[in-house]
C-alpha cells in the first residue's frame, strides 16, 4: 500500500521503539535468569509488518513500503535431540550412582583392610587368634584353662560374624526405606509434571507459549530420567475439528509396543510398591492371548453388548488370528476358527497354568489365575522382611480430578500395569537390585523373572556368602568335635534289645535300654547303617547331585541328633570315659542345636559355655587293660584331634550354594574352594571388583553426562557476551528509532507549523 498518511510514519518509529524495548526486556530477562536451573534462553522473534493487499485504485507510482517491525513472539532456543541424549545418559548416571552408594555401605561393613589389632583385620584377625589358641592348646592338651581360651577366641569370632550380619541386615533395611522414599519422589515428580501439563495446555489453548512453564517441566523430566529411563515424545492432541494442541507423552523406554505410559498429556500415573503384592507367575507369557481376563467391568453380556479397550481387542486374537466370540452360557469367551467352529481350549492358553499370578495351594502346588485379588499375597516391601520382591506397578493414568484416561473407544482404562524385574533402568532399578539380587544363590524362579539374576550381586548375596562361611566353619568344627559314626557303637555301653535278644541296643545310665523322646531304642548297627546309606546315596547314579546332597544332609542330621541324645543320656564304656566332645557351635546361646546356622545366629553352644563339652583332644580311645577292665590306660595328653582342628583351618574346603540357600539354581556346584580365610577374602574381593567396576562406569558416565549438558548449554544457555552484544544492538536501534521519531516530529513540525502562517 502506498499511502500511509501523514502520521503513518510515526507508526514505524513507534513500532521500532516498542520492538527494541521488548528485545531489551527479553535480554534483561535472559541476563537475570542466567543462573536459573533449566532456563532456556529466549529470543524475541521480530517480523516485518507489511500489507499484502492490492489498492482499490491502481496507481503506477505506488511504492510498497513496509510499516515497521512487529514483535511476533518470544521463543526458546532448545535442541530436543540434546535432551533425549542427555536423559539417556542421566539414567545411566543415576543407575551407577545408586549402585556405588549402596556398595559403599557394604564396603564400610565388610572391608577389613587396615583395621583390627596390628592391622590384621577383624574377622581375619579372629581366625588367626583361633589358630594361635589351638596351637597353645595343642601343646598342653587336657588343660581346661587353655580350652577356655580357645573358647573365648571362638566367641569373639562368632560375635564379629553376628555383628557383620546385623549390619548387613540394617543396610538392606535402609536401602529399602531409601527406595520407598525414591518412589515417593518419583510420584511427586510425575504429579508435578502432570499439573504443569495442565497449565501449559491451558496456556496453549489461549495462545500462550508458556516458556517458563516448559522450562520447569524440562527440569522435572531431567530429574525423572535419573530415576528411570524414559522416552519423551510430542504429538498433537485434537481439540476440535480445526485445531490441535501439542501434547507430551512420557513412557518407559524399551517397554515394547505399545509402550508403558507414565504421562500422556494431562493424564499421569503413580508408581506403586505395595507392602504385599500378588505372587507373579514366572512362566507367564504376555504375548499369548488370554480369554476372560479382559472382559470389561461394564460389559453387559446379557444384552450382548461387549465393550473392549483396544488392548483387549488385540488380546482377543488367538495365535491363528481368529477372533473370539462370546459364549453367554459360560460367561467366557471361546475362540472360533475361521470356519466358525469353536477352537479347542487347549490350543488357547491355559489359565490354570499360564495366568499372570499364582495361587499357592495348601499342598504346595501352584495354580495360575488372572485375578490379582485372588492370588497369594507375598511380602513385597514389608519392614524387616527378607522375602521382599520389590515389585512395582503403575496405577491407571488419571488427570488432576481423578478421572481415568479413555481409549480410542471412549472406554476408561483402569488396569494396573505390572513392571517386570528388568523393565526399569536407572537409580530405582539399581537400588532394587542391590536389595534383592542373590548372585550365585539365585533360584530358578529368580532367573525366570530376570535371566541375568545369577550374575547380579546385591546385599542378599553377601549375606548368603557370609552365612555360607559361618555354616561351613560350624559344620567342620562340630564334626571334628564329635565321634565318627563308626566309633559310636564302640564308645557306648550296649544291652540286649528287649524286642530281639540277639540284637543289642544302646543303654542309658541306669543300664536299661535307652529310649529317645519317641520311645524308640537305638540299635547297635544304627550308625553303621547310616554310613552305608550315605555310601549308597553317593553311588546312586539315578539321582541328581542336589538330591544326593539333600539326602545325605538329612541322614547326617538325624544321626547327629541321636548322637547328641546318647551323649546326654548314654553310658560311656571305660575306654571312652574321657570323651567330652559334642556340639561346639550352635544357633542359639542357650541351646546345642547346630542346624540352620547363619552368620547372624552363630554362637558358642550352651554346653561348651558351661564346660559340659570341651574341645575333644583325641578320637582314639584309651587302651584296654584286661587286669583292670574299668580302669584303662589313659592318653591324657594325646592331641591328634586338636592337631586335626589346626589343620582344618588351612584346609581347602568346597562351598556350595545349595547348602545355604535351598532353592539355589546350580546349588550342587562348588562356587568356591578354599580355606576359611580365603573365603572371607573372596567375599571382599568380589565386593571390591563390583565396586571398582561400578565406580569406573559412574565416573565415565558422569563425564559423558557433563559433556552432553555442556552441549545443551551451548545451544540453550545464556551467554553474557551474547546478551551484552544484544543489549548494545537494541540500545542502538532504540536510539535510532527515537532519533527517527524526533526527525519525523521536526519534519512534521516544519510542515504543520512552518508552512502556513
Amino acid at each position: 500500500m502506498a499511502v500511509i498518511g501523514t502520521f503513518g510514519s510515526f507508526t514505524a518509529a513507534r513500532l521500532g521503539i516498542y520492538a527494541s524495548q521488548s528485545a531489551l526486556n527479553v535480554t534483561g530477562n535472559n541476563i537475570s535468569n542466567i543462573n536459573t536451573k533449566g532456563y532456556t534462553r529466549q529470543r524475541l522473534d521480530l517480523v516485518s509488518l507489511h500489507s499484502d493487499g492490492d489498492a482499490r485504485y491502481q496507481n503506477s507510482y505506488n511504492l510498497n513500503i513496509g510499516y515497521g517491525v512487529l514483535a511476533d513472539s518470544v521463543s526458546q532456543l532448545r535442541d530436543p535431540f540434546m535432551d533425549i541424549r542427555y536423559r539417556d545418559m542421566n539414567s545411566s548416571v543415576g543407575s551407577y550412582e545408586a549402585m556405588v552408594k549402596g556398595l559403599d555401605q557394604l564396603v564400610d561393613i565388610l572391608d577389613e583392610v587396615g583395621q583390627g589389632t596390628g592391622e590384621f583385620g577383624i574377622i581375619e584377625g579372629a581366625f588367626n587368634e583361633v589358630v594361635q589358641m589351638l596351637n597353645n592348646l595343642n601343646y598342653r592338651p587336657g588343660t581346661e584353662e587353655y580350652d577356655t581360651i580357645v573358647r573365648s577366641a571362638m566367641q569373639s569370632m562368632t560375635r564379629y560374624f553376628n555383628s557383620y550380619a546385623d549390619s548387613l541386615a540394617v543396610v538392606r533395611e535402609n536401602l529399602t526405606q531409601d527406595l520407598k522414599e525414591d518412589v515417593e519422589s518419583v510420584n511427586t515428580i510425575l504429579e508435578q509434571i502432570r499439573d504443569l501439563n495442565v497449565q501449559i495446555r491451558d496456556a496453549g489453548l489461549f495462545g500462550d507459549q508458556a516458556l517458563e512453564l516448559r522450562d520447569a517441566r524440562n527440569v522435572l523430566i531431567d530429574e525423572l530420567s535419573g530415576y528411570m529411563k524414559i522416552d519423551v515424545r510430542y504429538d498433537m492432541e485434537k481439540i476440535d475439528e480445526f485445531s490441535s494442541i501439542e501434547r507430551i507423552n512420557i513412557s518407559i523406554a524399551n517397554s515394547g509396543t505399545p509402550p508403558i505410559k507414565l504421562i500422556q498429556g494431562i493424564y499421569g500415573t503413580q508408581l506403586e510398591m505395595p507392602e504385599m503384592a500378588a505372587l507373579r507367575n514366572p512362566e507367564f507369557d504376555p504375548s499369548k492371548p488370554q480369554c476372560n481376563k479382559y472382559i470389561s467391568q461394564e460389559s453387559d453380556l446379557a444384552k450382548g453388548i461387549i465393550k473392549y479397550t483396544n488392548n483387549e481387542r488385540e488380546a482377543l486374537r488367538d495365535n491363528a488370528g481368529a477372533v473370539l466370540n462370546d459364549n453367554t452360557a459360560q460367561g467366557r469367551l471361546t475362540a472360533l476358527g475361521y470356519n466358525g467352529n469353536a477352537l479347542d481350549a487347549a490350543t488357547f492358553y491355559d489359565e490354570a497354568n499360564m495366568g499372570p499370578y499364582l495361587i499357592k495351594n495348601p499342598d504346595g502346588t501352584f495354580t495360575g489365575t488372572s485375578d490379582r485379588n485372588a492370588a497369594t499375597q507375598v511380602d513385597n516391601a514389608m519392614k524387616n522382611s527378607e522375602e521382599n520382591r520389590l515389585w512395582m506397578q503403575l496405577k491407571p493414568l488419571v488427570d488432576e480430578q481423578g478421572r481415568y484416561m479413555r481409549d480410542q473407544y471412549n472406554q476408561e482404562i483402569k488396569e494396573t500395569v505390572d513392571l517386570s524385574d528388568v523393565q526399569l533402568y536407572g537409580s530405582l532399578q539399581s537400588k532394587r537390585e542391590l536389595i534383592t539380587e542373590e548372585g550365585e544363590f539365585a533360584s530358578q524362579e529368580d532367573i525366570d523373572f530376570d535371566e541375568n539374576a545369577n550374575i547380579k550381586r546385591g546385599v542378599p548375596y553377601y549375606q548368603h556368602a557370609l552365612d555360607s562361611l559361618a555354616q561351613q566353619f560350624a559344620k567342620m568344627f562340630n564334626e571334628a568335635n564329635r565321634l565318627n559314626f563308626d566309633q559310636v557303637k564302640e564308645a557306648y555301653v550296649l544291652v540286649a534289645d528287649p524286642a530281639d535278644p540277639n540284637q543289642k541296643v544302646f543303654a542309658d545310665k541306669d543300664g536299661n535300654p535307652f529310649r529317645d523322646p519317641d520311645g524308640n531304642t537305638i540299635s547297635e548297627t544304627y550308625f553303621d547303617d547310616v554310613l552305608q546309606q550315605i555310601a549308597d546315596v553317593k553311588a546312586d547314579n539315578t539321582k541328581t547331585e542336589k538330591e544326593k546332597m539333600d539326602e545325605i544332609e538329612a541322614l547326617e542330621l538325624e544321626a547327629y541328633d541321636k548322637m547328641e541324645l546318647l551323649r546326654q543320656s548314654g553310658e560311656l564304656v571305660p575306654e571312652w570315659a574321657f570323651y567330652n566332645g559334642g556340639v561346639l557351635l550352635s544357633n542359639k546361646g542357650d541351646g546345642n542345636d547346630p542346624t540352620n546356622i547363619t552368620a547372624a545366629n552363630i554362637t558358642i553352644s550352651k554346653d561348651w559355655s558351661t564346660g559340659a563339652v570341651r574341645i575333644l583332644n583325641t578320637k582314639k580311645p584309651d587302651t584296654f587293660d584286661p587286669r583292670n577292665p574299668d580302669k584303662p590306660l589313659e592318653h591324657t595328653t594325646a592331641d591328634d584331634n586338636i592337631y586335626h582342628m589346626i589343620s582344618l583351618m588351612d584346609q581347602k574346603l568346597e562351598y556350595k550354594a545349595g547348602t545355604t540357600v535351598d532353592d539355589a539354581k546350580g546349588g550342587e556346584d562348588t562356587f568356591f574352594k578354599g580355606t576359611f580365610q580365603e573365603m572371607l577374602a573372596n567375599i571382599n574381593l568380589t565386593l571390591a571388583m563390583d565396586k571398582s567396576t561400578a565406580n569406573g562406569q559412574y565416573n565415565s558416565y558422569t563425564q559423558k553426562a557433563l559433556n552432553l549438558e555442556n552441549n545443551r548449554q551451548s545451544v540453550s544457555g545464556v551467554d553474557l557476551n551474547d546478551e551484552a552484544t544484544s543489549m548494545m544492538m537494541f540500545q542502538k536501534s532504540y536510539s535510532a528509532a527515537c532519533q527517527l521519531m524526533t526527525t519525523l516530529d521536526s519534519m512534521l513540525d516544519k510542515l504543520i507549523n512552518g508552512t502556513i502562517r
Partner: protein, 438 residues
C-alpha cells in the same frame, strides 16, 4: 563442545575438574596420614589379598616359633635330666666293674654297693618322672599321670600301669582254650573278619611275632581277655595271652606321637591321620630311654629295663657273705630275684648283669645324644623361623607401607595443582563483555 561457550558451561566443567583435583588431594593426604598404600580392597585388590595372605603366614610362623620354643624347653630339660642320670650311674658302675674285676677282694664294699645300686635305680626312675610345668616329660601321650611307678614290694616297675618286663611268660604246653578259634569262627560267619583281626589272632596264638598296634585291638580280643578262667590250664593260657597283650601295649606306648606343627607343612591324609614328616613328634616315652620287655637274646629271660637290672644286681650283691668272701645263696631274701640260685649261678649272674648294664649304659648315652641332636634341630628350626618371620614382616611392610618421602612429595604436588586450579577459577569466571561496556 558446541561452537558457543556459555558462562554456565565453563562453570560446570570447572566445578567437575576442581572436584577431581580435590579428590586426588584428599587421597594423597590420606596416604600420608595413614602411611598405607591402600586403605580398602577396592583401591588395590591384588595388594590387599597379598597383604592378608602374608599376615596369615606371619601368624602361622609365630605359632610355629612358640611351638618350637616349647618343644625345645622340653627336650632341653630332658637332655639335662638324662645327662645328670648318666653321670650318676657312671660311678657305681665303675666301682662294680672294679670289684668284680679284682676277683672278690674288696668284699665289704659289695653290700654297700648293693645299696648304692638300689638308690641309683630309684633315682633313675625318679629322673624319668620329671615334670615340666604340669606335664610329665617322659610320659608319652599320658603326660598328666606319673609314668613310672614301683609296685608295693619295690620289685616290679610299671610304666603307666603295665609291667615293663612283659614278655617273660612262656607259651603253656597244654592245648589252648577254644577262645581264639571261637572268636575267629564268629567273625568269619558274620563277615567282619579282616586283616587286622587275622594279625591279632596270629599274634595271640603265638604263630606270629609281629606285634600289632594296641590301638587297633579288636573287640573280640577285649572280650576274650576279660573272661575268668575255669581251671589251671586256662589260667596259664590267660596269663600268656595277657602277657602278649602287655608286650603289644609297651611297644605301642614306646611309639606314641604328639603332633606339633613346626612349619614342615602340616597336612593330613584323612581326618586325624597326619602325613608322616609334616609334623614334629613332641612325645618322649620313658620306655625308649631305659628299656623295656624281656631280653630274648639269651635263655635267661632277663629284663630289658635298666632300673630292674640295677636292682637285680643289687639283689645278687646282697647275697655276698663277708665271712666266706663268696656268694651265699641262703642270704637271698624270699621274693628277690637272687632267691633260689646257686653260688655259681649268682657269680655268673653278677658278671652277666654288669655286661648288660654296660650295654644299657651305652644305649642310654646313645639316646641322650639323640636328644641333643633333636634339641639342635629345634634350635635351627627356631632360627629358620625367626628369619622367616623377619622376612615376612619386611614383605608386609613393602606391600602395605607407603614410602613416606614419596607420599609427601605426591601430596605437595597435588596441593600445588589444587592451588593452581583455584587461582584459574578465580580468573576464569570474572570477565565478560559487560565489564567493558560503558
Amino acid at each position: 563442545m558446541g561452537f558457543r561457550i556459555t558462562t554456565n558451561m565453563m562453570m560446570n566443567t570447572y566445578k567437575f575438574n576442581l572436584q577431581n583435583n580435590t579428590q586426588k588431594l584428599a587421597n594423597a593426604r590420606d596416604m600420608v596420614l595413614t602411611q598405607r598404600n591402600f586403605n580398602s580392597y577396592e583401591e588395590d585388590p591384588a595388594a590387599a589379598t597379598r597383604a592378608f595372605r602374608l599376615r596369615r603366614t606371619y601368624t602361622r610362623t609365630l605359632n610355629q616359633l612358640n611351638n618350637t620354643t616349647d618343644c625345645y624347653s622340653k627336650y632341653n630339660t630332658a637332655w639335662n635330666n638324662l645327662g645328670g642320670v648318666i653321670d650318676k650311674l657312671a660311678n657305681p658302675l665303675d666301682k662294680t666293674s672294679a670289684i668284680l674285676g679284682a676277683n672278690g677282694t674288696a668284699g665289704e664294699s659289695r653290700k654297700a654297693l648293693a645299696q648304692i645300686l638300689r638308690d641309683s635305680a630309684d633315682s633313675l626312675v625318679h629322673s624319668m618322672n620329671q615334670q615340666l610345668g604340669d606335664q610329665f616329660i617322659f610320659g608319652g601321650k599320658d603326660g598328666l599321670n606319673v609314668p613310672f611307678t614301683w609296685s608295693e614290694d619295690g620289685r616290679t616297675l610299671l610304666y603307666r600301669g603295665v609291667n615293663v618286663d612283659a614278655g617273660g611268660v612262656e607259651k603253656p604246653a597244654s592245648t589252648p582254650p577254644t577262645w581264639l578259634d571261637d572268636a575267629k569262627a564268629a567273625g568269619q560267619a558274620a563277615g567282619t573278619w579282616d586283616d587286622n583281626d587275622e594279625a591279632w589272632f596270629s599274634y595271640y596264638a603265638g604263630t606270629s611275632e609281629k606285634i600289632p598296634n594296641s590301638d587297633t585291638m579288636p573287640k573280640w580280643a577285649k572280650d576274650m581277655l576279660k573272661q575268668t578262667p575255669n581251671n589251671a590250664d586256662e589260667s596259664a593260657w590267660m596269663e600268656y595271652y595277657r602277657d602278649r597283650d602287655d608286650v603289644a601295649k609297651l611297644k605301642t606306648m614306646s611309639e606314641e606321637e604328639m603332633y606339633i606343627d613346626l612349619g614342615m607343612g602340616a597336612k593330613e591324609n584323612a581326618p586325624n591321620d597326619p602325613i608322616l614328616g609334616s609334623y614334629f613328634n613332641g612325645a618322649l616315652s620313658g620306655l625308649n630311654f631305659i628299656g623295656y620287655g624281656t631280653d630274648k637274646t639269651d635263655e635267661f629271660g632277663d629284663s630289658g629295663n635298666y632300673a630292674i637290672l640295677l636292682k637285680e644286681l643289687a639283689d645278687v650283691f646282697e647275697t655276698w657273705d663277708e665271712d666266706v668272701q663268696d656268694y651265699n645263696p641262703e642270704l637271698a631274701k624270699e621274693g628277690s630275684s637272687a632267691f633260689g640260685l646257686t653260688k655259681d649261678e649268682l657269680k655268673e649272674k653278677a658278671f652277666r648283669m654288669l655286661d648288660k648294664l654296660k650295654a644299657g649304659q651305652e644305649k642310654i648315652t646313645e639316646n641322650w645324644v639323640d636328644l641333643d641332636a633333636q634339641s639342635k634341630f629345634l634350635l635351627t628350626n627356631k632360627e629358620r623361623l625367626e628369619t622367616q618371620k623377619t622376612n615376612i614382616n619386611e614383605e608386609i611392610l613393602e606391600v602395605e607401607q607407603v614410602d613416606l618421602a614419596e607420599a609427601i612429595t605426591q601430596f605437595s604436588w597435588e596441593q600445588y595443582c589444587y592451588n593452581a586450579a583455584l587461582k584459574i577459577g578465580n580468573q576464569l569466571l570474572t570477565q565478560s563483555l559487560i565489564d567493558y561496556m560503558n
